[in-house]
């Protein structure tokens, strides 16, 4: 047994070395456990959102998207908008019934341990050092595994494009703004301070301060602090999140560990099977040789 384990360790090490040599730097980094405390984040305070949808227009501008903009204002708030490959964020009325109606902005949550990045076979989705999960169209094969894997159902596909469909998702305006020190387009467009841009750990501190100072108003939960291992976008609200269409009962454990637990066994399994089959096949074939004159295969 110990032999098997050391062999497994060896193969893991060998794979790691190979990975470091062959893979792009961001990939090699992914196998370690980087500190995610200082990543960029946004705090969404649902109590401050008036539903003007200025963030949606800001997103379209910042990312050169071409979704129809007629409905992106306060007058049309009753019309529900769905995110799509060229509409990466939407604000809709949520709640109702026994809960108050609130305006909720949705976009990619930018998980600290993103499931989409872990399942993408070609690293078309990748996590940058500052945290944002970006998409690189030129690598994408269009397998849509990211859409299946995402716990927030964020990635969208360009269904009416036959040859060059893309995956559409919020990328935190990483390339064109964040890397230059600018806040994302949606945050810049927000007139009420419902969106606040900053370091995730600072924002988490502020979120908890707000919850404490107005504990009569806020629900005692920062959505995104622990969900699927934590997300860069954090939400606070005066209405229970599950009443506003947020996914509830998400595991606190990062989802990629579920597959990594299996994938990390593969080198070991290959080694064990190869030696087992090798020994078996050749010893039995020699025995057969001695028994009769018939050759192998």
């Amino acid at each position: 047994m110990s032999d098997g384990l050391t062999r497994r360790g060896f193969f893991k090490g060998a794979l790691g070395a190979l990975a470091a040599a062959v893979l792009p730097q961001s990939m090699a980094r992914a196998s370690g456990a980087p500190s995610k405390a200082g990543v960029a984040g946004v705090l969404v305070d649902i109590t401050r959102c008036i539903g003007c949808r200025a963030c949606q227009r800001g997103c379209q501008r910042a990312n050169d998207l071409n979704a129809p903009q007629e409905l992106m204002d306060m007058e049309h708030l009753a019309t529900r908008l769905e995110p799509s490959f060229h509409q990466w964020t939407v604000v809709n009325r949520e709640g109702g019934g026994d809960a108050p109606v609130r305006q909720v902005k949705r976009q990619c949550m930018h998980c600290l341990e993103p499931a989409c990045v872990s399942v993408c076979p070609v690293a078309a989705l990748d996590q940058t050092d500052q945290g944002p999960v970006i998409y690189r169209e030129s690598r994408c094969i269009g397998c849509r595994y990211c859409m299946i894997a995402c716990p927030f159902d964020v990635p969208r596909f360009e269904w009416d494009n036959g040859l060059t469909p893309v995956i559409g998702k919020c990328q935190f305006c990483a390339q064109q703004r964040l890397f230059k020190g600018l806040p994302p387009g949606c945050v810049e467009a927000c007139p009420t301070g419902a969106l606040k841009f900053g370091r995730r750990d600072d924002l988490l501190f502020e979120a908890k301060a707000r919850l404490r100072s107005r504990s009569d108003v806020y629900v005692d939960h920062v959505y995104g602090e622990h969900e699927v291992g934590g997300t860069s976008w954090l939400y606070i609200s005066d209405t229970p999140f599950e009443k506003l269409g947020f996914k509830k009962n998400l595991p606190k454990r990062p989802l990629p560990t579920l597959t990594w637990d299996v994938v990390s066994w593969i080198p070991g399994i290959v080694a064990v099977l190869a030696s087992l089959f090798g020994v078996l096949a050749f010893s039995l074939s020699r025995k057969n040789h001695q028994d009769s004159s018939g050759g192998p295969a």
């Binding site: 990975a19 094969i141 269009g142 859409m147 036959g162 469909p165 089959f277």
Partner: protein, 405 residues
Amino acid sequence: MIGWGFLTAVTGVLTWLAVAYGLNRAPRHGGRWALGAVGALWAVTAWVMVIRFARGMGAMTSMSDTYPWGVWVGFLQAGVALSGGGFVMAATVHIFHIKRFEPILRPVVLLAFLGYSFVAMTLFIEVGRPYNLWHPLAMWQHHSIMFEVAWCVTLYLTVLAVEFSPAVFERLGLKKAVDVLHRAGIPIVIVGVILSTLHQSSMGSMFLIVPQKIHPLWYSTLLPVFFLISSVAVGLCVTVVASFYSARLFGKTLDRWLLADLARAASWILLIYGAVRVVDVSARGAWGRLFDPGWLGGVFLLELGAGVFLPAVLLSRRVVRDRPRYLVLACLPALAGVVLNRLTVSWLSMVPYNGPGYTPHWMELAVSITLFTIVVAAFGLAAKFLPVFPADQKMGESYDGKTFS
């Protein structure tokens, strides 16, 4: 509506012919009927392909952002499972050296090769940017199960082609090439078996990342194990069914006692598979979810009862195993069961999470059925023109002289 009618007519004709040939009551112009139905289907699918690449998948599938994967993925999964005979029989003959199964190895390897070709062809249509399908081979992301799947499909297709190539070389009279492959045989077989083991199980691992989306009757950390065991069982069943039909359609002789042995093995493996599934649901305390509103509980009972335990029991009976026709009839529910299982894991089990919103478009089904008929036609052509079956390999009489035709 017209599309559905057309599809029903085509599949109706083909099913009728399959049953008729199975019962040895081939209709007078059976071949012509088959050619007509398949020809019409292929013509329609050619047009569907034009729509697919001109106007996108949205124009000819029911897939959407809510259901990014449809039946194509389910059938693709089923295709992989049904190709399981290839690695099981290769291991039996060349690793465990149970040589009496050698006569059926070649048709089984061909079946597996064609099954994986079905998978590859589906992928070229299902994926948004098929011209980028080589990317996983160059742009590594070893955390992804899909990355592993891409490598396994590519390598295993190559291995299967090599394993089958002696038939082609024999036909072409290239004796030297056959000898070379003969000597490299065992290592190639071992590589193939390992690749299959990884690939069959990783088809299940693909769904480990969505514990909150898959219904608890199906979601288990043992998904890769389930997928592997079921592919072994169903691979044996496919071998039985395909041998039976080859004998009927191409007048080949096959040893029916070999098939009975395969069926007995399949019966045991199905039983183990069913038992592990039952223990798994018990261990996770998920039996109560059988009574969730909706029909998923019924699907679970159908899949495990009719698709696993029924064939397991039937195939354990001598009465069934001794009659080829019964043998095939007992294997069919196992095949249907695994197809249902793959469709359920990749689609039906997510319906409570996603909500309704996906029923396959007839054009999606037309594509899958077309690819299936292409595979069957390719098998027929190979059986006709290549030394696939034992009679052509000059294996002589089977060991007890009893053959079935």
